[in-house]
């Protein structure tokens, strides 16, 4: 299947989902007018990739801000990954946070607390 690449904007995340390597990267900040409309194609792509393709999935997040509705949709992404992980799919997550940004570290810790899949918190240089 094709990779999914979106450049990102002030209010939307940059998306780089590489179908060849299984490295799925989201970066930037998210406060679109309609979070569901932005995240739905991403969630559909991940679900299809998890079902149809072989490479392990490595979700890499370099997020500096999520508004409330985006936070809810990132939770939906994690729910989906957790379901595939439970069926034996090889999946891991890396959450990068700026070293001076305790709030984003705490957001990552909150996400990690819900999940059984490997979830690594890394201070970005």
């Amino acid at each position: 299947m094709d990779s999914l690449l979106l450049p990102g904007s002030k209010a939307t995340l940059a998306v780089s989902f590489d179908a060849a390597t299984g490295v799925l990267e989201l970066s930037g900040q998210s406060y679109p007018e309609n979070s569901f409309a932005f995240f739905k194609p991403l969630i559909d792509w991940i679900d299809r990739f998890a079902r149809e393709e072989q490479p392990p999935i490595h979700l890499v997040l370099r997020i500096s801000y999520l508004n409330t509705s985006s936070t809810k949709l990132v939770l939906d992404v994690f729910d989906l990954l957790e379901r595939h992980f439970a069926t034996g799919r090889d999946i891991r997550v890396t959450w990068y946070y700026a070293a001076d940004d305790e709030d984003i570290l705490e957001t990552g810790e909150d996400f990690k607390a819900d999940l059984k899949l490997p979830f690594e918190l890394v201070a970005a240089p």
């Binding site: 209010a11 406060y31 409330t68 936070t71 709030d103």
Partner: protein, 192 residues
């Protein structure tokens, strides 16, 4: 007489300065305007070197209150080129020696104002840990039909602010009231 329908612009400017308004907006809050205001505010706080945490918290409160207002204000303008409308209202960022405050003000039906005021009361009655727990639980609750994330947005505002979250009605008209929600972020000592 100059333009502006008799408005005394200088009195308006002086009054805003005396209230220590850092940035203010009145009008239709399209997504483009919201992004411009929010990014302009962030740039201003970064230039003032108030620190990452204060900058991001003020920014987050502004975005949440502004998107709330864009969605729920009963005063609405048609959006060019689409069938949708956009909320009209007031956004004000003020400061004093110790803090920044962000406020939204817009017209809303009295029953909506009462519902939001009671949510604010519930939030203000919680400890920080209770509020964090309630926020996490609400985010993980399945979506209800037609239900937006307004309530959980207020919790996020409160988590980014120093208590209490303020919610008050400043004017009553037949059928609607002017609802103000405001939140304050303390300044921090920085090395910048």
């Amino acid at each position: 007489m100059s333009g502006g329908g008799g408005l005394d612009h200088y009195a308006c400017y002086r009054s805003m300065r005396e209230q220590r308004i850092v940035m203010a907006f009145l009008g239709s809050l399209s997504q483009e305007v919201l992004v411009g205001f929010a990014e302009g505010l962030r740039e201003l706080l970064e230039l003032r070197k108030v620190g990452t945490r204060v900058t991001k918290r003020v920014f987050a409160i502004l975005v949440e209150l502004a998107q709330n207002m864009a969605a729920y204000s009963t005063e609405r303008d048609a959006l060019a080129g689409s069938g949708s409308t956009v909320g009209v209202g007031l956004l004000v960022v003020t400061e004093d020696e110790a803090s920044y405050s962000v406020a939204s003000g817009n017209l809303t039906p009295p029953e909506t104002a009462r519902a939001i005021a009671s949510r604010c009361e519930l939030i203000n009655a919680m400890s920080l840990d209770e509020l964090k727990g309630a926020y996490r639980a609400r985010l993980r609750r399945p979506r209800e039909e037609g239900q937006q994330t307004g309530g959980v947005g207020l919790m996020q505002v409160a988590l980014n602010a120093r208590p209490p979250l303020e919610c008050r009605v400043e004017h009553h008209d037949p059928g609607h009231v002017f609802l103000v929600i405001s939140a304050t972020v303390p300044k921090e000592k920085t090395n910048g």
